[in-house]
């Protein structure tokens, strides 16, 4: 019966949050923990109904801290684990996002962003968490964050998020927002065999953890998943490659911070995806997520007016597409950065571009409203 089908192959007209839930199931997700929050609730609501039908477990926790911790626990026993929330929930999760980074735990975190700060406006979308997901937990680290611009991409990039989490043993964020989470559009779900994802490597048996390298390999160490007799030692405190705590050796401290960073940065070419149609363009509209829809419309209008305008979209926001932005800056005269916030990614973009072209930022006409393409165009005409 279709209610028990794992992958709902076919064409659907549904919400972005629906697509995200189906993307998770298509990716083989079998453990989800969450706490209700607008505008993310529909993802968890659907998974609560769907997961038990595909041999998975849904847990509604007492808070978002419980959600991320139980998801990390489930990942350590070999589940493909996920949690889903919005800004206030991410704020609560921060300490344990760091735990997942430090213990190299595969984990998918869906963030359907909403208007902040604080309790803000629950149902209005804002790219409110772009920096806090990458820099909000203490210490230096790298995570992966993907930005969908449509319900279809909430399906596609949720699957990619699981692949990257498994391949790199790292938390991967899907940075949706209230607009695309709640937007209904056509969603095409491919055949099940076309949604195969990468699986984590599992450590081999050994007498002691001292005979294995379970952590801190820049090429990604096989994971000593629990329950297999591997006698894994997992701590987020500073540890060596065997997972054994070491709070005294400066060389170990250095590696403990640097190798998980290098693990992501060294593989950035595999991780970073951008969409660049700025060939011949003099002006680049740089954006990500929902705003990219307006950017594309504005570029179309500008071209009709004879302006050489192109769009550049970051599907991956973290690790930051520094190389791609640099290349773009060298090929255009002007870069206009469009974000539905007061400029969270802008300083990072400007730092890579300002040496080669003029760069400025344009938020929406009213915060929380997606940029009107005409408004972007009028800004270009005035420039």
């Amino acid at each position: 019966m279709s209610r028990n089908k794992k992958v709902l192959t076919g064409t659907h007209f549904e919400m972005g949050n629906w697509a995200c839930a189906e993307g998770a199931i298509a990716a083989g997700c079998n453990f989800v923990a969450g706490y209700p929050i607008t505008p993310a609730s529909e993802v968890a609501n659907r998974l609560a109904a769907r997961l038990p039908r595909v041999n998975g477990t849904f847990l509604q926790t007492e808070d978002e801290i419980g959600a991320i911790c139980s998801a990390i626990g489930a990942s350590w026993v070999g589940c493909k684990a996920m949690t889903v929330t919005s800004g206030p929930g991410i704020s609560l999760m921060q300490e344990n996002i760091g735990f997942a980074v430090a213990t190299e735990t595969p984990l998918v975190i869906i963030d359907v962003q909403r208007f902040g700060p604080s309790t803000g406006v629950p149902s209005v979308g804002l790219a409110a968490d772009m920096v806090q997901v990458a820099r909000g937990s203490h210490g230096d680290y790298q995570i992966i964050a993907l930005s969908p611009e449509s319900p279809q991409e909430m399906f596609d990039l949720t699957i990619r998020a699981f692949s990257l989490a498994e391949a790199y043993r790292v938390p991967v964020f899907l940075m949706a927002d209230g607009f695309i989470g709640h937007m209904r559009e056509q969603i095409v779900i491919p055949e099940e065999d076309r949604t195969k994802i990468k699986q984590r490597k599992i450590a081999e048996q050994s007498v002691s953890v001292l005979d294995r390298r379970d952590f801190l390999d820049v090429k990604v160490a096989p994971m000593p998943v629990f329950g297999l007799g591997l006698k894994a030692h997992v701590t987020s405190s500073c540890h060596d490659e065997h997972g054994m705590r070491n709070l005294s050796d400066p060389a170990v401290m250095h590696t403990y911070v640097m190798n998980p960073i290098k693990k992501i940065v060294n593989h950035r070419d595999d991780i970073v995806q951008v969409e660049d149609d700025c060939i011949d363009a003099e002006v680049a509209l740089v954006s990500y997520g929902t705003v990219s829809r307006s950017a594309r419309a504005a570029a179309g209008l500008a071209r009709k007016n004879g302006l050489k305008v192109g769009t550049f979209r970051m599907l991956t926001c973290w690790p930051f597409p520094d190389k791609e932005i640099r290349q773009l800056a060298e090929n255009v005269e002007y870069m206009l950065v469009l974000e539905n916030n007061t400029g969270q990614m802008y300083p990072y973009i400007k730092a890579e571009a300002a040496h080669a072209c003029r760069v400025s930022f344009l938020g929406p006409q009213t915060l929380g409203q997606i940029h009107d393409p005409e408004y972007i165009l009028s800004h270009l005409n005035r420039r």
Binding site: M1, N4, F31, A33, P52, R53, N55, G56, T57, L59, T61, E62, D63, I65, G66, C69, S70, A71, I72, G73, A74, S75, W76, V77, G78, C79, A81, E95, N96, F99, S208, V209, L210, P224, F226, G227, G229, L230, K231, A232, H233, V234, T235, S236, S237, M244, R245
Partner: protein
Amino acid sequence: MTVSIHPLKKYTRSHITRTTTCPGCGIGIVSQAILRAIDELEFNMDDFVFVSGIGCSAWIPSPLYNTDTLHTTHGRPIAFATGVKLGLPNKNVMVISGDGDLAAIGGNHLIHAARRNINLTVILLNNGIYGMTGGQTAPTTPRGLTTITSPYGTMEHNFDITPMVVTAGASYAARWTTYHPRQMTRSIKKAIQKKGFALIEAMSQCPVQYGRVSKLGKAVDMLKDFKVNSVKINKARNMEPEALLGKIVIGEFVDIEKAELSEECMNLRRKMMEAM
């Protein structure tokens, strides 16, 4: 010369030769009770996953115990263990941590795990203080005691943890002190075998921090204090509240059978999959 090997050595990682506890700390007694329970039940260490938080007590399984161990953030071990248990319903999942970790910062996870009746064994070491951070007031510190952060005496009332966890819904809950290691071992065996949320509140001496602030003195004096002040639960039930002031009620507080979460989740999955 004959070499004698500790009978519980087989349960520990061979390369770990030292622990981090102060001399006289109750942690060693509780750790022995846990390993003896496992030994007497003839379990293999690989049948267990241990999860601990942050604090002196949370160092019991990590790095010592020779099986999968997850050393988590402060207050969260029960939340992590919930995911471990739901993903590995056939393993024994044991949480070992302190009173500050499990009843202050992590108090919400404690009562909710008991409410869910998820099959975890939680060993909560109650030393009435924050040992690791240097003797600050805990929610278990007796009212009036002077600590580093209550230099004029605590004005707050303290938690009575075991009855609280019983009220929250636990299947099994018992409290013993480090003066009662045999009873504690027996209760840990029951807790491991219990299908449901099981708590052992182990009153444990912290001579270095608590002994200092309470002026109770050294480990032996503190154990004597446990001996003198403990009252069996059956006797306590017939005592006036005033007579119980300053006493430690020990024994089994609850031992019941009821639906358990990880099994319920398995049953739901089976039912849904069969409905295909």
